[in-house]
Symmetry: C2
Subunit: 345 residues, 2 copies
């Protein structure tokens, strides 16, 4: 039961131009209403920040509506029910929802809310390897990337390989028997990829230089690349294109290198080497995970098994306190994190 | 029977830099050998010039080996057997082969040679609508573009729409019930597309301006584009990307706007709006027709029927004399032709 009937939310104060700053966000004190019949109150325990949220900060049509100014942001979170006047949702139960960026929220119906089991796994895993993040990697590498069992000898290149999605994609590819190479942004992350995720090779693209990714890939993937799992776009994408094998698949999952470019996603002049998509019969396919939710059951079964067998490792970078959620979000674009970026509220 | 035992071939004298010129080619007189047992001699009647040949003039690895300097070029042609010491190939029969760019050629075995029936259709159709050109359009729009019967209300945009492949792609899309818009490079071609191919709308991109293709498409495709059949690349591709519907398909068939760029196919700086491939879950797929030859039977049945029903019209631009083959080829890049570019030898 809540004594003081107020909590906090993070509002979007301004639409960021370029890289977001803390001034674009506002930490706002709000009342927590008393519950009516059928309602229940949740205290958020963990929330996720994700690069795709940058897109929703623009006032532009995309696959999700833009965030509204002076309203709380949204996103994945897990919390615990602390008050309830709804028989289906009991005090003490844990739930997953999209009502992140706030300390408390009230549900009038339970719609869009999934109960989660806190005993089988740390609850924040439902924001990472066992949540949308993991499903994104799973769908991307297996379905969009068409990684079949016959892909045993496939070479897979993953950019942002130590990131939330990338680290899972890398490890699924290893499970499937592929030769896996990853790019990341620090020596420490290279070490993690080699020692923990146990991929075959990894490099720090900041050390290699953005213009030298292509020759670096030629060196590390002497048989060419069969699947490129792209989280980065820009120079990474062009370098991968240079090195794709015929019938290769490029999984366009994210383009974090581009999100803060003011003109994004509008074209600038330039002539990318997309012709290689013809001569190598490439499939370059974009996707959005929510189109593939029907794979959730299969995904949970396999992922739980792999985690249980120690085949999937996951890292978390945690910021403490809702107040620090913007810092966490901005940190996504600075390469400061390892694995899944989380805010502990 | 040949009286004078010599003929002519076109050799590649120099690898063109930028747009090819006639100086890159050589018209060479060669002996025609007397036939040994099992051999037969063909006089070419028609040959095809195609944009893809520009790629083979580079000394670079691609899906076909480069043309060799001071050797005859190769390409689709049809001819008639004029001497034979082979029971399977009789004098008077017509054959299709890849031994273009020459007046005569001798086969030792008949391998790679297909007999054609001169009665059912003008023989040069086997270089156009009933040949690789038509199959390219067919595979591209139906298979790669995933144009199904349900695609009745799909909007299809075709660039180089009055070209050899484009004009067939347009008309197949009309047969399938789509709303079809084409771009081309002259008012005369716009008229042909509207009056003969009977597509729904067409524009002259030279009049519209390369930078205004996107707003032009927004006007002519108010419901967005479901399939873009790309023969052009560059600004056409970027403009189409701007206007694609979710789950749209971009069929990368050719990039004629880029073939004479000296750095092609290597990347230049620039940030194309490929992110739209993610947010709209696009599939951008390159293909090469020879991977789909198993569809040839189905293709011939349908295409013959459509031609018979007057549903597929085809135009030809004909240059007379082998000597003029380089002119014909260079003309491909000048937008001087309508429909299939042919050389009458």
């Amino acid at each position: 039961m809540l004594d003081e009937r107020f909590g906090h939310e993070i509002h979007l104060k301004d639409r960021p131009l370029g890289t977001p700053t803390e001034n674009d966000f506002e930490f706002v004190k709000v009342n927590v209403p008393r519950l009516k019949q059928g309602h229940f109150l949740v205290r958020n325990l963990w929330m996720s920040v994700d690069p795709y949220m940058r897109g929703r900060m623009r006032d532009a049509k995309s696959y999700l509506p833009p965030f509204q100014l002076n309203k709380p942001l949204e996103g994945d979170c897990v919390g615990q029910i602390i008050e309830s006047k709804n028989n289906q949702f009991k005090v003490g139960e844990y739930v997953h929802s999209n009502f992140g960026w706030r300390e408390f929220w009230t549900s009038m119906s339970g719609s869009g809310i999934t109960k989660i089991n806190p005993k089988s796994t740390p609850i924040q895993h439902y924001l990472g390897v066992l949540g949308r993040t993991g499903l994104t990697a799973y769908v991307g590498i297996l379905k969009i990337g068409e990684l079949k069992n016959e892909g045993k000898n496939n070479t897979v290149f993953v950019s942002a390989a130590s990131g939330a999605v990338g680290s899972v994609a890398c490890q699924i590819a290893k499970i499937m028997g592929c030769h896996v190479v990853g790019s990341t942004s620090s020596l420490e992350k290279v070490r993690w990829l080699l020692d923990e995720a146990k991929i075959d090779d990894a490099f720090n693209y900041k050390e290699v230089g953005e213009d030298n990714i292509s020759p670096q890939l030629r060196k590390l993937c002497p048989n060419g690349i069969d699947i490129y799992f792209d989280n980065v776009g820009g120079n990474h994408l062009y370098a991968a294109l240079d090195n794709m094998n015929p019938f290769g698949r490029i999984v366009l999952c994210g383009m974090i290198s581009q999100y803060n470019v003011p003109s994004f996603p509008n074209p600038k002049s330039g002539s990318p080497n997309l012709f290689l998509a013809i001569s190598n019969r490439l499939k370059i396919q974009g996707f959005i995970v929510r189109d593939h939710y029907h794979m959730l059951g299969e995904f949970c079964t396999n992922m739980s098994k792999w985690i249980g067998e120690g085949k999937i490792k996951s890292e978390e970078t945690v910021f403490e306190g809702l107040k620090n959620a913007p810092k966490a979000f901005i940190g996504l674009f600075k390469g400061e994190k390892m694995g899944k970026m989380l805010v502990k509220i």
